[in-house]
Symmetry: C2
Subunit: 430 residues, 2 copies
């Protein structure tokens, strides 16, 4: 086999980038793989649309069958987006023994496990590194059980839009709504930002990463998700004064064969490697037993980084074809799905309360916590805006989610407590 | 070929780690490669030394010939250290068509280019990712011309000892000598710390990285090297007050087909991703044309991270054998070695002067700079310890090395200038 033929589904900015990267790197690819890669067909909606690049007109088609049922084609690159129709098309492709490279995170989040199993049964590969964090080869890093060793914890900034918003709120003191609007005007955030700001996009990616890291089949429903809509400038300022930065962090951890996956606004020490990941950048921090701490930082999206990642995955597919190990990329879950119960999830927490500023109030509150065996690393009390009220800001030592929830429920009952303003996870320190 | 046989040179902590990783990952390796890896012989000094691991006694030998001239062996893993003798042994191995995986940075720095050419001529691979920064797969990232695209700049913290020292000096306000002694007591720094603290070790690694990134054969002599011995607490404090952190940074950049490689104490903005890389950690920041900014962060050394990196390289060698593309890993330099002249090297600089605190002194000094068309982003003047003297701290806009050196030479001639206290490169900002 001295030539691998590719069918490209989609010729938007990423698809165009893929064509360019393949053309400009022909020699290097041949050198690296010992064979050539050739684009055979490109699936487009509009055959006559003017395009940025010079393309052999005979490559273009609007009939998906010319790709997925074409015997000459070995690999399908899917960069057209969409979920249900795309899923059906990919299933047809796999049944016709095509390998898949995709940059489509929504597809992978919804149908990924099913597609991966179907591909394995057909001895085909599905590679999807470009779908997680364009410029960061994190799937490859995690999928290689050796490089990644026994992984104990992953912390990720895997959504560029929310990281951009949190950065602007923190560095420029702007409110959430204003930053969101700016991000939408700049094209960083979509008109309907729900999937980003409510943490769903990050949760999908964390599910995929956790499955790989822990070799366990976790679902989107297993992720505790909280978005960033309710983070206020006051939260950011109090966190800052205690030495923390607030970021939307995905955390997947494993203890005693039980997993925990969450996405939530989290306080990190200002000198944690993830705290400096700004704007639309992504980063994934991995703690492995042998390797210790590693972090991968790069652009989360963008047409060129994504196209480059797609071509890297394509090269991996070709390598596997030539090694005769296609379909081995997907590793069947080795461990039974087991999730931590709420009394097994431990972390530190940041808690803000508004209270009546009266004698004994502070003691009533600390009694509630000490009844739950909750102790504190840091406590601030300061007058609140409204006369006669005060604000208490606390950072706990490590406690279980059970201890947290029970404490919060008891606090609600106290008459001195006016309201719970906010509470966040604190992570990234011993 | 359903089994690849390995000869392991050296059974210290890294070698022992390699044996352990190979044993505990047999299944995964077979799955990933479609063949098995087996250790055939281990070269040791002392056959009878008690060891941490259970090893088949028949594997051990103290005769190098049993490895490098053994027809059954396909790959030599070199984790025994040393330069000249080791080089000769590796040459013999390559002449006998063995592939090499090495964690030996000194060997690669001194004889790397020659060994790589010899290996290529013999259709053998030499992989050495473990030699640069144990836990970071940076050689692989750079060697893959696609993932790394057209690389414009690399900035690296590639020496753990000096980063540990700079971190302690910065965070704890301790003087260089005291921190060095501590590092030696803890085993982080060697009894003779010259190669670390004077920047040679970092320069060797930057040479290897620059060769890969720019596909140009650069030598150690092409690197401008300044170590950290002369960095004082005052330098660190002034840098801090202007918003910078001082780190020992290796920089390789390419403009108009001309390269520049340096290792020197450098001021980085406190919010640069490299500024937070602390203690003995390493990180390599890569700026590529397509991918943009990426950074890889991890442990610089340590026996387990290094053993893991060695096994990853070994797997790559095996993949290449099975693909029939061995010897292609080394890419011949594609570009003629061209270095920037001193009027083509541009950066910002931090300059500290001690001056007589007399009328007109400041103007005399600024006149010198404006004669060289040097302008400033930041200037501080403050009284110095000695009565009648003052200190001036400046950060220039981007200037050439020529402008810098001419300005400094002119300043020396002024009677108002008592002494040039220090000057450093400033990088990582526009």
């Amino acid at each position: 086999m001295d030539k691998i033929r590719v069918g490209l589904c989609g010729l938007g900015t990423v698809g165009t980038g893929v064509v360019k990267v393949l053309e400009s790197h022909q020699e290097q690819i041949k050198h690296k793989l010992g064979c050539e890669i050739e684009i055979n067909k490109i699936l487009v909606n509009d055959l006559d649309k003017p395009r940025d690049i010079v393309i052999d007109r005979s490559w273009l088609t609007n009939d998906p069958g010319e790709l997925v049922e074409n015997e000459a084609i070995d690999v399908i690159i899917e960069v057209m987006g969409g979920i249900e129709d795309t899923n059906q098309l990919m299933e047809r492709a796999i049944q016709n023994k095509k390998h898949i490279v995709t940059a489509n995170k929504d597809l992978m989040a919804v149908h990924g496990q099913k597609l991966l199993r179907l591909a394995k049964a057909n001895h085909c590969d599905i590679l999807y590194d470009a779908s997680i964090a364009g410029g960061i080869p994190i799937v490859r890093t995690l999928a290689d059980g050796l490089a990644s060793d026994h992984i104990e914890k992953i912390m990720g900034i895997v959504n560029g839009t929310t990281n951009y918003i949190m950065t602007k709120m923190t560095d420029e003191g702007l409110p959430f709504d204003q930053v969101l609007k700016e991000a939408q005007d700049l094209g960083f955030a979509e008109a309907d930002p729900t999937s980003d700001v409510d943490g769903l996009d990050a949760a999908r990616k964390m599910t995929l990463l956790a499955n790989l890291a822990f070799k366990m089949e976790l679902n989107l429903d297993d992720v505790d998700v909280t978005g960033i809509r309710n983070v206020t400038q006051d939260d950011i300022n109090f966190a800052e004064s205690l030495g923390y930065t607030i970021k939307l962090i995905g955390i997947a951890s494993m203890d005693n064969s039980k997993a925990e996956v969450s996405v939530e606004p989290t306080l990190l020490p200002k000198d944690h490697p993830l705290a400096l990941v700004k704007n639309e950048f992504n980063a994934v921090y991995v703690h492995g037993e042998a390797v210790g701490e590693t972090m991968f930082y790069g652009p989360g999206a963008g047409s060129l980084p994504t196209a480059t990642a797609v071509v890297s995955d394509l090269m991996e597919v070709v390598r596997n074809i030539r090694l005769g190990i296609s379909g081995n990329t997907y590793i069947d879950p080795q461990f039974e799905r087991q999730l931590k119960d709420y009394n097994e999830k431990f972390s530190r927490h940041f808690i803000r309360l508004e209270v009546n500023d009266q004698a004994g109030a502070f003691q009533e509150i600390t009694n509630v916590f000490s009844d739950q065996a909750v102790s504190f690393a840091k406590i601030l009390q300061l007058p609140a805006e409204k006369e006669g009220t005060a604000e208490i800001v606390m950072v706990t030592h490590k406690i279980s989610q059970e201890q947290l929830l029970k404490s919060l429920a008891e606090l609600e009952k106290l008459t001195v407590v006016i309201r719970m303003i906010s509470h966040y996870r604190v992570d990234g320190e011993e």
